[in-house]
């Protein structure tokens, strides 16, 4: 039995169909890379797996370790071992990173963590993502730079030790050194043979640092190609234009709202 099994998953946002029948299986120890042009459903898939209420599952099945994931609440999914590192992490004013993480750890365990163990855990995680320890006394993501927010997501992942991490563009907004730090933290979790991840990114650089075991391309809400690292190299070199010729799939460009005119602009 696969750890995560997604069958024919169809998802809507409002009236708009985003996912059109995703099928995917993930086992322990695997890292799956998801690539797609903007607006084709990568982030949607991760958000739906975590249970974001903004998305409506029209049909399909998702089993996590044999349990119907779609029937679980968001926190039950987290307690079952899922973790979503978000592309745009939320700010929680007035709540320190430290208090937040302590609540999160205690929510997942039967006995509250001892203060000594908690501080040691935080120290180690802060070192791993190269953030100063006093950062944990600041309110969650408030006043954080883009890079600090991303590293804070990885810090939380290291502390909470999920069995399936969903990493949504964790490299966006990071400089070259920070990407290496984040990748090294993810690779540290990979030392656990039970750890698996779905990794979304637009850039080959991240996948060079966190080598995926499987690679998938999503177009128009469907996985149209599966492969290995060579798929990433091909996209990095040629973009997505070859998809139509090779797979006969038209890439629907994301429709952006049209700006007719600027108003309130002083010239």
């Amino acid at each position: 039995m696969a750890k995560l099994s997604i069958k024919d998953l169809h998802v809507l946002v409002g009236n708009k169909k985003i996912l059109n029948g995703i099928n995917l299986e993930i086992n322990d120890g695997e890292v799956h890379a998801l690539l797609a042009p903007n607006g084709h459903g990568k982030s949607t898939l991760l958000a739906v797996l975590m249970g974001n209420p903004n998305y409506i599952v029209e049909k399909g099945e998702v089993l996590f370790n044999g349990v119907d994931l779609l029937k679980l609440s968001v926190d039950e999914r987290a307690k079952a071992g899922l973790f979503l590192a978000m592309q745009y992490p939320m700010t929680i004013p007035g709540v320190s990173v430290s208090d937040f993480l302590k609540s999160a750890i205690n929510a997942k365990s039967e006995k509250p963590i001892s203060l000594y163990k908690f501080i040691k855990t935080l120290e180690e995680a802060c070192q791993d993502v190269n953030l100063p320890l006093d950062m944990v006394h600041r309110p969650v993501n408030e006043g954080f730079s883009g890079g600090e927010k991303k590293r804070n997501e990885i810090l939380q992942m290291l502390v909470l030790k999920p069995s399936l991490a969903l990493l949504d563009e964790i490299d966006s907004g990071l400089d070259v050194d920070a990407i290496k730090i984040v990748a090294s933290a993810v690779n540290k979790l990979r030392e656990n043979p039970l750890f698996s991840a779905i990794l979304v990114s637009h850039y080959a650089r991240l996948f060079q640092l966190i080598t995926p075991t499987h690679v998938h391309i999503i177009i128009n809400g469907e996985i149209i190609a599966n492969g290995d690292f060579s798929l990433i190299e091909k996209i990095d070199k040629n973009g997505y234009d070859w998809i139509k010729a090779e797979y006969g799939v038209d890439i629907n460009k994301k429709v952006l709202p049209v700006s007719l005119e600027n108003c309130g602009v002083k010239r």
């Binding site: 975590m50 249970g51 974001n52 209420p53 609440s73 968001v74 926190d75 999914r77 987290a78 307690k79 899922l82 973790f83 979503l84 978000m86 992490p89 939320m90 700010t91 929680i92 004013p93 007035g94 709540v95 937040f100 993480l101 609540s103 999160a104 929510a107 997942k108 309110p139 939380q156 909470l160």
Partner: protein, 252 residues
């Protein structure tokens, strides 16, 4: 009439009556309420300073009026937390003479059909008087909360300053919240301002906290604690801390 004539910290159970703080004293007062209707008048004599912690026990409904008169060069700071279940109607009325300084901080949670009203009235009656109030409100589960803040700078109260800030978050569609700041100015050389923010809870914040394992209720409590944090960080009072621990599982 209770007359305070020595410096110190006092805990007082009160129903109604008058308190007087003698000149040049520095008093910290914890007022514990255990009756439904309470009216208290506090007189601060010249050069005196008073810090008041209002501790509300389980009283339903709670009607409270506190009139505070600040004589010349006196200081008042009040901290009021109303986290009780049940309706409440709280009136804080402050009259300030010259060079006096008054600050009032409140946090109110209206939950489960509660109907709560906080009405503050700050009168800068004489010159160089400074008043400031900061109110935080949370409304959830079909409750309502109305924060009405009046600031009035009288003729002759030049160089006075009257400021109020109020914040309110509403958790659900069936709950109602309203902030009504009013400023009346009868003198030219003064400063007066108000700010109000009222909005719904951000569902994305709840999702974020839940995605780390907190239940929906824990997530909401965490957001409440964060919202009240600027207020709670100012409070250092054993009796209020006990209430916070019980009501919000908040520990210092």
């Amino acid at each position: 009439m209770v007359n305070y004539d020595q410096n110190g910290s006092y805990i007082h159970k009160l129903s109604q009556g008058d308190l007087r703080i003698d000149t040049n004293l520095l008093i910290t007062l914890t007022l514990v309420f255990d009756v439904f209707d309470t009216q208290i008048k506090i007189d601060l004599k010249e050069n005196s300073s008073l810090i008041v912690y209002y501790v509300l026990k389980e009283i339903k409904p709670f009607n409270f009026t506190n009139v505070i008169v600040l004589e010349k060069n006196s200081n008042y700071t009040g901290y009021l937390l109303d986290l009780n279940e049940g309706d409440s109607n709280i009136i804080i009325e402050i009259k300030q003479k010259s060079l006096s300084n008054a600050s009032f901080y409140s946090g109110i949670i209206a939950d489960k059909n509660d109907k709560k009203i906080l009405e503050t009235k700050f009168y800068n009656e004489e010159n160089n008087s400074v008043s400031y109030q900061q109110n935080y409100g949370i409304v959830r589960n079909n409750a309502s909360l109305f924060i009405k803040g009046l600031g009035k700078i009288e003729k002759g109260a030049f160089n006075s300053n009257n400021r109020q800030d109020s914040r309110l978050i509403i958790f659900d569609e069936n709950s109602k919240g309203k902030i009504e700041p009013l400023l009346f100015i009868d003198e030219n050389e003064v400063q007066a301002s108000h700010s109000s923010a009222l909005g719904r809870i951000n569902e994305d914040q709840i999702f974020y906290l839940q995605s780390r394992g907190l239940s929906k209720e824990e997530a909401k409590k965490t957001i409440i604690k964060g919202f009240l944090a600027p207020l709670l960080s100012r409070i250092n009072n054993y009796e209020i801390n006990l209430v916070l621990k019980e009501k919000l599982n908040y520990e210092f």
